[in-house]
Symmetry: C2
Subunit: 326 residues, 2 copies
């Protein structure tokens, strides 16, 4: 029921994913009459793999996490998470209120042993591929132990996505040992001692985009600001380049060539918006699609959930955490 465009986009993305993954079954959680109406137009062969599960309430985009927790026992978000907890589905994808989704996920699913707080991770494009950046805003204040837990979780997530021996780095204002705040310095000490983790040291903001690491760890305050400022900058650049191309006839001719590329670039540079962000550290798979994600963004989020199911990510995290956490 969530997202800035409501369930219509979600249904459309769901049907597209059914086409791409023959073994996929999707459960749409929300107001039955509305959802039934939305899927009615699709072929019977698709509808056979779409189940509507009723939930009478909807958490709005501006609701506080505490409100979502206390009120609305029958919200689509909570009901979906309960289906996951009860093993009736294998992952939850939501385009709704991020804070509410995190609070309800922790409440309904609980965290993995050893994890204080789940983190939000997304793939950020770099000059050499992608890096997993976490936390993206779930935890504004983080201790060194939290940063350490994020590093372990990010490393396992990157492995699950196919990276061999992911290079893990801590985001900092310099690469020398003396640089940074107390939490970051202490976290570096913990990571240096962690066996089985390919910790490569501090990384700066430009190093991230140069692709110097596969996993970049920071607190949610920094991660959120980095992600959103990157989205804002990418949008600004895309608009400036577009303006340039519209300026005269010669450049307008080129524009026809460049504009589709710029669209892709913009999408690529707003990964949380377009590719979905995972919640790591929960006893279950939860992927958050950006509220303003289009159909393609929602498809990417469902795809990410599928990979995490395939790779059994929570189970792998649980195992690795058992080895690495004190």
């Amino acid at each position: 029921m969530g997202g800035d465009f409501g369930p219509r986009n979600i249904v459309q993305a769901s049907v597209a994913c059914l086409g791409a993954t023959p073994s996929l079954q999707l459960t749409l959680v929300g107001q039955p009459s509305l959802l039934e109406e939305l899927i009615a137009g699709y072929p019977a062969v698709d509808r056979a793999r779409l189940t509507v599960f009723p939930a009478s309430e909807v958490i709005t985009m501006d609701e506080r996490p505490s409100q979502a927790l206390r009120g609305k026992p029958d919200s689509s978000m909570r009901v979906a998470l309960q289906l996951l907890r009860d093993d009736r589905v294998q992952a939850v994808v939501s385009a709704g209120n991020t804070g509410a989704l995190m609070a309800l996920s922790r409440h309904v699913l609980k965290t993995l042993p050893g994890i204080d707080r789940p983190a939000m991770v997304a793939a950020i494009p770099t000059q050499r591929g992608y890096c997993q950046l976490l936390d993206l805003g779930a935890n504004v204040d983080c201790s060194a132990e939290h940063l350490f837990q994020f590093a372990v979780m990010g490393s396992v997530a990157a492995e699950a996505l196919g990276v061999v021996r992911p290079r893990v780095a801590l985001l900092n204002v310099g690469t020398e040992d003396i640089k940074g705040n107390q939490q970051v310095k202490l976290a570096a000490g913990l990571l240096q001692q962690a066996r089985g983790l390919n910790y490569i040291g501090f990384i700066e903001g430009d190093g991230l985009y140069r692709g110097e690491a596969d996993v970049v760890v920071c607190d949610g305050f920094v991660g959120n600001i980095l992600l959103k400022s990157s989205e804002g900058l990418a949008t600004m650049i895309a608009e400036r380049v577009e303006t340039l191309f519209r300026r005269n006839l010669a450049s307008r001719l080129v524009g026809a060539l460049a504009l589709p590329f710029l669209g892709r670039l913009r999408a690529d540079l707003a990964p949380a918006r377009h590719n979905g962000a995972s919640f790591l550290g929960l006893q279950g798979i939860v992927v958050k699609s950006h509220g303003s994600a289009g159909v393609q963004g929602l498809q990417s989020a469902i795809q990410r959930a599928l990979i995490e199911i395939q790779e059994n990510l929570p189970e792998r995290l649980h195992g690795r955490l058992g080895e690495l956490l004190p």
Copy 2:
């Protein structure tokens, strides 16, 4: 003597600035033989306005601030700051080691009354012009009071640069009151009560690039990471766009049109690298040019120092701080 390219670029930029500003007199501080040799090639009319002031030592780019403070009493950086302290020059511009420059500036010049820590500010391009972003890395941990002081200083700096009633915002992970860490929430409380300051509330990373504020305040950890990641992202985008243009003949034709623009865009998006960053809150004007800044970047830094002299920035800051600080 500083900067990744040494004094040659600095001398070249100095001479260019003499041409642009007839009243300007420049003092070059450093090893006399080297500097005299570098200026020997320029016309006598320029050399008449260039003074070489001797300093036998050089602080290297990798020296720690504590080393710069304790050792090298005759470093070019320290001597330049002493000339400023003694009113023999009106501003210092350096392309050297940032941490050393900040430590020496505080030590030699002292901070303005009411200011605990100087901040580093630079102009960041936005969709609507520029915003002054501070702190950029001088202070990794900041209390609410520090953020408040930065807001006051940033506002006065924006006014000096011609902005009427600058809109001042606190960088945060959301715009609602409940969002953010403790320091940011407390700083918001202080700013709401400050008369004569056009405080507009919280701003997110994307809002910064949309130009929603003229002054954006954050701690140096966040500011440094935002700035460097933006530089990294801009570089990545510029390279991707260039690659696109090289892909085929049609696009290569357009490339001729677009490449100069992309160069400008890159320069524009790396403002600390290209435009110089000011140290605010000192009893004197200090502008830091990026170590890898080219001649044009150094010129911009000298221009910024000239504006600050014209606007009598430290004096204005002193007056406004007296009104606004408790």
